[in-house]
Amino acid sequence: MTDGLTIADKTFSSRLFIGSSGYPNQQVMLDAIAASTAEVVTVAIRRINIHGGGENVIDLLADKYHLLPNTAGCYTARDAVLTAQLAREAIGTDWIKLEVIGDEETLFPDVEHLLTAADELVKDGFIVLPYCNDDPITCRKLADIGCAAVMPLGAPIGSGMGLRNPYNIEIIRDQVSIPVIVDAGIGTASDAAIALELGCDGILLNTAIAKALDPVKMATAMGRGVEAGRLAFQAGRIPRKLYAEASSPQAGIVRA
Protein backbone atom coordinates (compact mmCIF):
# COMPACT_ATOMS: atom_id res chain seq x y z
CA MET A 1 0.00 0.00 0.00
CA THR A 2 1.46 3.36 -1.01
CA ASP A 3 1.01 6.37 1.25
CA GLY A 4 -0.84 4.48 3.94
CA LEU A 5 -1.36 5.85 7.45
CA THR A 6 0.56 3.71 9.93
CA ILE A 7 -0.36 3.75 13.61
CA ALA A 8 1.23 1.16 15.89
CA ASP A 9 1.12 -2.12 13.95
CA LYS A 10 -1.66 -1.18 11.53
CA THR A 11 -1.58 0.64 8.21
CA PHE A 12 -4.72 2.17 6.77
CA SER A 13 -5.29 3.39 3.24
CA SER A 14 -7.93 5.89 4.40
CA ARG A 15 -6.88 8.89 6.47
CA LEU A 16 -10.44 9.47 7.64
CA PHE A 17 -11.57 8.01 10.94
CA ILE A 18 -15.30 8.18 11.53
CA GLY A 19 -17.71 8.07 14.44
CA SER A 20 -20.81 5.90 14.68
CA SER A 21 -23.09 8.27 16.59
CA GLY A 22 -25.97 10.59 15.79
CA TYR A 23 -27.09 9.29 12.39
CA PRO A 24 -30.77 9.37 11.45
CA ASN A 25 -30.82 5.56 11.54
CA GLN A 26 -28.49 2.59 11.41
CA GLN A 27 -28.76 2.10 7.66
CA VAL A 28 -27.71 5.69 7.01
CA MET A 29 -24.83 5.16 9.43
CA LEU A 30 -23.66 2.08 7.53
CA ASP A 31 -24.05 3.75 4.15
CA ALA A 32 -22.24 6.89 5.28
CA ILE A 33 -19.34 4.98 6.78
CA ALA A 34 -19.01 2.99 3.56
CA ALA A 35 -19.18 6.16 1.43
CA SER A 36 -16.51 7.87 3.53
CA THR A 37 -13.90 5.14 2.76
CA ALA A 38 -13.05 5.10 6.49
CA GLU A 39 -11.57 1.91 7.90
CA VAL A 40 -11.54 3.00 11.55
CA VAL A 41 -14.84 3.53 13.37
CA THR A 42 -15.19 4.84 16.91
CA VAL A 43 -17.65 3.48 19.45
CA ALA A 44 -18.48 4.40 23.03
CA ILE A 45 -18.70 2.17 26.11
CA ARG A 46 -21.84 2.43 28.19
CA ARG A 47 -23.70 0.64 30.96
CA ILE A 48 -26.21 -1.86 29.59
CA ASN A 49 -29.95 -1.24 29.78
CA ILE A 50 -29.38 2.51 29.78
CA HIS A 51 -29.28 2.96 26.03
CA GLY A 52 -32.10 1.68 23.88
CA GLY A 53 -31.01 2.84 20.41
CA GLY A 54 -27.98 1.45 18.63
CA GLU A 55 -28.22 -1.80 20.51
CA ASN A 56 -26.63 -3.81 17.75
CA VAL A 57 -24.23 -1.27 16.36
CA ILE A 58 -21.22 -3.32 17.30
CA ASP A 59 -22.60 -6.38 15.53
CA LEU A 60 -22.97 -4.33 12.35
CA LEU A 61 -19.46 -2.90 12.50
CA ALA A 62 -17.16 -5.40 14.17
CA ASP A 63 -16.47 -7.64 11.16
CA LYS A 64 -15.92 -4.89 8.63
CA TYR A 65 -14.08 -2.13 10.47
CA HIS A 66 -11.23 -1.56 12.87
CA LEU A 67 -13.07 -0.51 16.01
CA LEU A 68 -11.67 2.31 18.13
CA PRO A 69 -13.51 2.52 21.47
CA ASN A 70 -13.50 5.88 23.23
CA THR A 71 -13.68 7.06 26.82
CA ALA A 72 -16.19 9.77 25.97
CA GLY A 73 -17.97 11.27 28.97
CA CYS A 74 -15.17 10.58 31.42
CA TYR A 75 -14.08 13.50 33.57
CA THR A 76 -11.39 11.78 35.60
CA ALA A 77 -8.34 9.72 34.78
CA ARG A 78 -9.74 6.95 36.98
CA ASP A 79 -13.00 6.70 35.05
CA ALA A 80 -11.19 6.91 31.72
CA VAL A 81 -8.74 4.15 32.64
CA LEU A 82 -11.50 1.84 33.86
CA THR A 83 -13.57 2.57 30.74
CA ALA A 84 -10.59 1.77 28.54
CA GLN A 85 -9.99 -1.49 30.38
CA LEU A 86 -13.66 -2.43 30.02
CA ALA A 87 -13.49 -1.56 26.32
CA ARG A 88 -10.49 -3.84 25.87
CA GLU A 89 -12.33 -6.67 27.60
CA ALA A 90 -15.58 -6.13 25.67
CA ILE A 91 -14.14 -5.71 22.18
CA GLY A 92 -10.78 -7.42 22.40
CA THR A 93 -8.73 -4.46 21.18
CA ASP A 94 -5.84 -2.63 22.80
CA TRP A 95 -6.70 0.52 20.88
CA ILE A 96 -8.33 3.36 22.77
CA LYS A 97 -9.37 6.89 21.88
CA LEU A 98 -8.65 8.52 25.22
CA GLU A 99 -10.94 11.39 26.18
CA VAL A 100 -10.85 13.02 29.59
CA ILE A 101 -13.14 16.02 29.60
CA GLY A 102 -12.66 19.12 31.71
CA ASP A 103 -15.78 21.14 30.97
CA GLU A 104 -19.23 20.06 29.84
CA GLU A 105 -19.91 23.14 27.71
CA THR A 106 -16.75 23.15 25.64
CA LEU A 107 -15.86 19.46 26.09
CA PHE A 108 -12.23 20.59 26.12
CA PRO A 109 -9.86 18.07 27.65
CA ASP A 110 -8.70 18.17 31.25
CA VAL A 111 -5.02 18.06 30.39
CA GLU A 112 -3.83 17.04 33.85
CA HIS A 113 -6.11 13.99 33.99
CA LEU A 114 -5.47 13.26 30.32
CA LEU A 115 -1.71 12.99 30.85
CA THR A 116 -2.19 10.80 33.95
CA ALA A 117 -4.58 8.46 32.15
CA ALA A 118 -2.41 8.29 29.03
CA ASP A 119 0.63 7.35 31.08
CA GLU A 120 -1.24 4.62 32.95
CA LEU A 121 -2.80 3.17 29.82
CA VAL A 122 0.43 3.16 27.82
CA LYS A 123 2.09 1.27 30.67
CA ASP A 124 -0.83 -1.15 30.66
CA GLY A 125 -0.14 -2.00 27.01
CA PHE A 126 -2.81 0.11 25.35
CA ILE A 127 -2.39 1.78 21.96
CA VAL A 128 -3.46 5.24 23.04
CA LEU A 129 -4.86 7.87 20.68
CA PRO A 130 -5.57 10.86 22.94
CA TYR A 131 -8.10 13.56 22.05
CA CYS A 132 -6.30 16.71 23.19
CA ASN A 133 -6.28 20.47 22.90
CA ASP A 134 -4.35 22.20 20.14
CA ASP A 135 -1.41 22.90 22.44
CA PRO A 136 1.98 21.83 21.12
CA ILE A 137 3.35 21.35 24.64
CA THR A 138 0.58 18.94 25.61
CA CYS A 139 1.03 17.06 22.35
CA ARG A 140 4.77 16.71 22.97
CA LYS A 141 4.11 15.38 26.47
CA LEU A 142 1.61 12.85 25.10
CA ALA A 143 4.13 11.76 22.49
CA ASP A 144 6.85 11.42 25.16
CA ILE A 145 4.52 9.30 27.29
CA GLY A 146 4.30 6.85 24.39
CA CYS A 147 0.95 7.57 22.78
CA ALA A 148 0.59 6.10 19.30
CA ALA A 149 -0.72 9.36 17.83
CA VAL A 150 -1.98 12.73 19.03
CA MET A 151 -5.43 13.97 18.16
CA PRO A 152 -5.63 17.74 18.65
CA LEU A 153 -9.05 19.30 18.31
CA GLY A 154 -9.77 21.69 15.47
CA ALA A 155 -12.68 23.24 17.41
CA PRO A 156 -15.13 22.04 20.08
CA ILE A 157 -16.71 18.64 19.46
CA GLY A 158 -19.75 18.96 17.24
CA SER A 159 -19.24 22.69 16.67
CA GLY A 160 -18.44 22.47 12.96
CA MET A 161 -16.13 25.48 13.29
CA GLY A 162 -13.27 23.89 11.37
CA LEU A 163 -9.65 24.47 12.35
CA ARG A 164 -9.81 27.46 14.68
CA ASN A 165 -6.04 27.61 15.09
CA PRO A 166 -4.36 26.14 12.03
CA TYR A 167 -1.05 27.66 13.10
CA ASN A 168 -0.97 25.63 16.30
CA ILE A 169 -1.92 22.52 14.35
CA GLU A 170 0.97 23.20 11.99
CA ILE A 171 3.38 23.63 14.92
CA ILE A 172 2.16 20.38 16.44
CA ARG A 173 2.74 18.63 13.12
CA ASP A 174 6.21 20.08 13.01
CA GLN A 175 7.19 19.16 16.57
CA VAL A 176 5.90 15.61 17.11
CA SER A 177 7.06 12.61 15.14
CA ILE A 178 4.00 10.43 15.77
CA PRO A 179 0.88 10.73 13.59
CA VAL A 180 -1.26 13.84 14.08
CA ILE A 181 -4.96 13.33 13.56
CA VAL A 182 -7.22 16.37 13.86
CA ASP A 183 -10.17 15.23 15.94
CA ALA A 184 -13.27 17.39 16.61
CA GLY A 185 -14.71 20.49 15.07
CA ILE A 186 -14.56 19.51 11.41
CA GLY A 187 -17.60 21.04 9.69
CA THR A 188 -17.34 20.41 5.99
CA ALA A 189 -15.09 18.92 3.33
CA SER A 190 -12.84 21.96 3.00
CA ASP A 191 -11.99 21.68 6.72
CA ALA A 192 -10.91 18.12 6.10
CA ALA A 193 -8.78 19.17 3.16
CA ILE A 194 -7.16 21.98 5.13
CA ALA A 195 -6.14 19.62 7.92
CA LEU A 196 -4.38 17.35 5.45
CA GLU A 197 -2.87 20.27 3.53
CA LEU A 198 -1.22 21.38 6.77
CA GLY A 199 0.55 18.04 6.86
CA CYS A 200 -1.68 16.26 9.38
CA ASP A 201 -1.84 12.52 8.94
CA GLY A 202 -5.59 12.18 9.21
CA ILE A 203 -8.82 13.43 10.67
CA LEU A 204 -11.51 12.00 12.91
CA LEU A 205 -15.04 13.27 12.63
CA ASN A 206 -18.59 12.27 13.42
CA THR A 207 -21.11 15.12 13.72
CA ALA A 208 -20.23 16.83 10.43
CA ILE A 209 -21.28 13.70 8.59
CA ALA A 210 -24.01 12.30 10.86
CA LYS A 211 -25.89 15.57 11.20
CA ALA A 212 -25.44 16.84 7.64
CA LEU A 213 -28.64 17.13 5.67
CA ASP A 214 -27.38 14.28 3.48
CA PRO A 215 -24.94 12.24 5.57
CA VAL A 216 -24.01 9.85 2.77
CA LYS A 217 -23.22 12.70 0.39
CA MET A 218 -21.23 14.52 3.07
CA ALA A 219 -19.35 11.33 3.88
CA THR A 220 -18.40 11.03 0.22
CA ALA A 221 -17.30 14.67 0.21
CA MET A 222 -15.22 14.18 3.34
CA GLY A 223 -13.47 11.16 1.90
CA ARG A 224 -12.58 13.14 -1.22
CA GLY A 225 -11.61 16.18 0.85
CA VAL A 226 -9.12 14.10 2.80
CA GLU A 227 -7.68 12.68 -0.42
CA ALA A 228 -7.49 16.09 -2.07
CA GLY A 229 -5.80 17.61 0.97
CA ARG A 230 -3.26 14.82 1.12
CA LEU A 231 -2.43 15.11 -2.59
CA ALA A 232 -2.14 18.88 -2.32
CA PHE A 233 0.21 18.54 0.63
CA GLN A 234 2.39 16.09 -1.26
CA ALA A 235 2.27 18.21 -4.43
CA GLY A 236 3.96 21.16 -2.73
CA ARG A 237 1.86 24.31 -2.96
CA ILE A 238 3.03 27.68 -4.27
CA PRO A 239 3.93 30.20 -1.58
CA ARG A 240 1.52 32.95 -0.62
CA LYS A 241 2.55 36.33 -2.05
CA LEU A 242 1.33 39.81 -1.32
CA TYR A 243 1.54 40.99 -4.90
CA ALA A 244 0.57 39.57 -8.29
CA GLU A 245 2.79 37.61 -10.61
CA ALA A 246 1.31 37.33 -14.12
CA SER A 247 0.79 33.84 -15.35
CA SER A 248 0.48 34.66 -19.10
CA PRO A 249 3.61 35.69 -21.09
CA GLN A 250 4.43 39.39 -21.04
CA ALA A 251 5.87 39.56 -24.55
CA GLY A 252 3.77 40.00 -27.69
CA ILE A 253 0.75 41.54 -26.05
CA VAL A 254 -1.64 43.20 -28.55
CA ARG A 255 -1.86 46.93 -28.13
CA ALA A 256 -4.44 48.70 -30.29
Partner: protein
Protein backbone atom coordinates in the same frame (compact mmCIF):
# COMPACT_ATOMS: atom_id res chain seq x y z
CA UNK B 1 -29.31 -15.10 50.62
CA UNK B 2 -29.87 -11.51 49.53
CA UNK B 3 -27.46 -8.61 49.81
CA UNK B 4 -27.21 -4.93 48.90
CA UNK B 5 -24.95 -4.13 45.99
CA UNK B 6 -24.62 -1.38 43.36
CA UNK B 7 -25.25 -2.41 39.79
CA UNK B 8 -24.49 0.22 37.17
CA UNK B 9 -24.79 2.94 39.76
CA UNK B 10 -28.10 1.77 41.22
CA UNK B 11 -28.38 0.26 44.70
CA UNK B 12 -30.19 -3.05 44.60
CA UNK B 13 -31.00 -5.98 46.80
CA UNK B 14 -29.92 -9.07 44.90
CA UNK B 15 -29.93 -12.81 45.41
CA UNK B 16 -26.90 -13.29 43.17
CA UNK B 17 -23.66 -14.42 44.72
CA UNK B 18 -21.47 -14.47 41.58
CA UNK B 19 -20.98 -12.21 38.57
CA UNK B 20 -22.72 -14.73 36.33
CA UNK B 21 -25.72 -14.75 38.64
CA UNK B 22 -25.96 -10.98 38.73
CA UNK B 23 -25.90 -10.91 34.93
CA UNK B 24 -28.85 -13.29 34.92
CA UNK B 25 -30.70 -11.10 37.43
CA UNK B 26 -30.14 -8.16 35.09
CA UNK B 27 -31.56 -10.15 32.20
CA UNK B 28 -28.20 -10.56 30.49
CA UNK B 29 -27.08 -13.74 28.80
CA UNK B 30 -23.53 -14.27 30.01
CA UNK B 31 -22.55 -15.84 26.70
CA UNK B 32 -23.48 -12.69 24.74
CA UNK B 33 -20.45 -11.21 22.97
CA UNK B 34 -19.05 -7.71 23.52
CA UNK B 35 -19.83 -7.60 27.24
CA UNK B 36 -17.50 -6.47 29.99
CA UNK B 37 -17.84 -6.41 33.76
CA UNK B 38 -15.96 -4.58 36.50
CA UNK B 39 -16.21 -5.32 40.21
CA UNK B 40 -15.18 -2.52 42.57
CA UNK B 41 -13.23 -0.79 39.82
CA UNK B 42 -11.41 -3.86 38.51
CA UNK B 43 -12.26 -5.58 35.23
CA UNK B 44 -13.21 -9.22 35.74
CA UNK B 45 -12.39 -11.35 32.67
CA UNK B 46 -15.24 -13.39 31.24
CA UNK B 47 -13.63 -16.67 32.24
CA UNK B 48 -13.80 -15.67 35.92
CA UNK B 49 -17.43 -14.53 36.06
CA UNK B 50 -18.63 -17.86 37.42
CA UNK B 51 -16.00 -17.94 40.16
CA UNK B 52 -16.10 -14.34 41.31
CA UNK B 53 -18.12 -13.93 44.48
CA UNK B 54 -20.08 -10.82 45.32
CA UNK B 55 -20.08 -9.28 48.77
CA UNK B 56 -22.34 -6.72 50.39
CA UNK B 57 -21.73 -3.14 49.23
CA UNK B 58 -19.88 -4.33 46.10
CA UNK B 59 -20.15 -2.17 43.01
CA UNK B 60 -20.65 -3.85 39.65
CA UNK B 61 -20.39 -2.24 36.22
CA UNK B 62 -21.84 -4.12 33.24
CA UNK B 63 -21.06 -2.44 29.93
CA UNK B 64 -21.14 -2.90 26.18
CA UNK B 65 -20.10 -0.88 23.13
CA UNK B 66 -22.64 1.56 21.67
CA UNK B 67 -22.59 4.27 19.02
CA UNK B 68 -20.01 6.92 19.77
CA UNK B 69 -17.85 9.65 18.23
Amino acid sequence: MSQQVQVNGIGKTVNASTITEILHEEGVDESAPFLAVALNGTVIPRGEWNNTQLAAADSVEIVKPVSGG
